[in-house]
């Protein structure tokens, strides 16, 4: 092998820049949300009451815990506790899967009531509802897609820690993976009040 150029600070800088682009990606949707909420305040208010605050709250708690576990895994690897690191990453992945399962049931219930983009029932409800649920499915869908990517990323991290490619003095990749996971968490922290709580 050749001499590998390693620059932890550069790697972290790159990750932060990438996170910045992700926030801007969702930023476009937040702008769209603001515009249509302003135009259809009453309808958005009523439509948001259709959503299940209990499931939303549970999912928020799940993601917050998962953010904590991935942060703990980064501390654990620095303390050379490999088993604990692996357990914490696995817990994070497990929580992510539970989040998706909840989301599946939540979406499924909406579909059963005929609420999905392009459905006849939704079209009858009026512009505000069409846009609210359009945004709801698009934004939570894109967020769920990020969760899936995050699970894949964390899966690689698990494998790398297991095979000792990431160790107590070379853990920047795990930290970057953790940063990505915090980003996914952060976006949900904004989605949750926008769709479930504001009335």
């Amino acid at each position: 092998m050749s001499v590998v150029h390693r620059d932890d600070i550069g790697s972290k800088l790159g990750m932060w820049l990438f996170i910045f682009t992700e926030i801007l990606l969702f930023g476009g949707l937040f702008i769209t949300y603001v515009v249509y909420r302003y135009l259809h305040q009453e309808a958005f208010h009523l439509a948001s009451q259709e959503l299940d605050v209990a499931i939303g709250t549970i999912n928020t708690i799940i993601l917050l815990i998962s953010s904590a576990t991935i942060a703990m895994s980064i501390t654990a690897i620095q303390q050379k506790k490999k088993k604990l690191t692996l357990a914490l990453i696995a817990t994070t992945i497990l929580l992510a899967i539970v989040f998706l399962v909840n989301k599946y049931f939540e979406w499924g219930a909406k579909f059963e009531h005929g609420i999905f983009p392009g459905s006849e029932y939704l079209d009858q409800l009026g512009f505000g509802d069409v846009l609210f649920f359009g945004l709801y499915f698009f934004m939570t869908g894109l967020h769920a897609f990020h969760i899936i990517i995050g699970i894949a990323v964390l899966g690689f991290m698990y494998y790398y820690v297991k095979t000792d490619r990431l160790t107590h003095d070379n853990f920047q990749l795990l930290e970057n993976g953790g940063l990505y996971w915090h980003l996914v968490d952060l976006i949900w922290i904004f989605l949750f009040p926008l769709f479930y709580l504001i009335a």
Partner: protein, 536 residues
Amino acid sequence: MSENKQNSAPKSYLEETGGRKGIFKWILSTDHKRIGLLYLYSIMAWFFIGVTLGVLMKLELIAPGKTIMGAQSYNATFTVHGVIMIFLVVIPGLPAVFGNFMLPIQIGAKDVAFPKLNLLSWYIYIAGSILVVSSLFAGGGPPDTGWTFYAPYSFKTGTNMLPAVLGAFVLGFSSILTGLNFIVTTHRLRAPGMSWMKLPVFPWAIYGTAWIQLLATPIVGITLLMVLGERIFNIGFFDPAKGGDPILFQHLFWIYSHPAVYIMILPAMGAISEIIPTFSKKTIFGYRFIVFSTLAIAFVGYFVWGHHMFTSGMSGTALFTFSILTFIVAIPSAIKVFNWVATMHQGSISTDVPFLWAASFIFVFLVGGLTGLVLGALATNVHLHDTAFVVGHFHFIVFGGTGFAFFGALHYWFPKIYGKMYDRSWAKTGWAIFFVGYIALYMPMFFLGVMGMPRRYFDYLPEYHGPNIISSLGALVMVTGFVIMVINLFRAVKTGEKAPQNPWGGTNLEWQISSPPTLENFDEIPTIDKATYKYD
């Protein structure tokens, strides 16, 4: 990354294959110079196709009525011409080719910060371009919305929009990763002593561009995803029939696509700022002004997108604001022009090939910039909106600006990239024919626009015939010059005489290493102790 670099004399990057053969020497290499050339070849291939489509359009417009194609074919032709030229050629153009090749060398580094990510960006670029091209062949015929994908037509038309829009999204991803790579490279890999104020102007321009790529592209990314959502799931974001707002699409689209113009022009300005001091044998005038105007353009460029939408029915306040900001963004651009001219003043100018491209760049950029002010003024805009005037202005900036700078940079760095020198008299001939043809092609569009000829129609009234003939003939002349240039450069790669290390007498780091450079560029990382562009 050779294992035996201590034992043998360093080979050039073109000879150093890393044990790979044939095409794998290229498509598996993470060397920033090879990746730069990969981009060069793929971009040139797309450029040929884009030019061919452009010539077909000019042939259609050589006479009123249907000449060689009908309305639908014409719509598809200008759409595909636009998509290819914007997303596949001009946006990656200078940053991906010369940014890749020259940025690490000019800051005294061995490679970019993330070489593997760099190669991945090229693969993503190729994936995106395949998607875009597949839209021509699969399904309901080539897209016909224009390169701007305006809603609601972009999700109502039966043509093959899905792959085109998805392709543009994927290309944006490639652009973001390239920008990210360059930012980290500039921050982390500058040679010892290379402080920010000793950085040459081209890396500065690439750095500014990288920020725009990073901060603007996600917005168009999400906008294109929303159009995909409209097409696939029928959501209604931009569909008035469902309460959506098509104007919102225009806002989101131009929030990216106006800064994208600066992705195209900033590196071009950077390349010109390299060429002019070298051929004037004089320190660049007002280095700090050039640097800060670069950053000012990158910053203010974000806040002018509304000037694409003056006739869309925005509020008066918004119109005035966008108009004033458009005038303000012209100031840093003008500062640069003054700096280039002042650099030449009392310099020892040699009118060699790169200088001719640079000087003609200043001319076409001036015309493009001043006609931009005509369009930025609210009253004249109403008259000229969506006329041939806009097409003329746009091509003077994007093709004149970026294209001339690209060809200038190509002739300037060619001896460094290939270690060969081209035939300069043929290069000058090619430039002269190209320049004359270029002016004849685009200048009449201003007159046609003022007379009221709309853009994007395959047909026109008989009174517009005269200028259209000149324009079409100009296109043929320009292509002739372009072909001469390309053949000349191809011949130089094959049979050109060996180029010296520093053929032009440049002062920056790239001229202090061998031509072509070795795999790791520098035997040892240099220490920078004097300001850039110092001539004795």
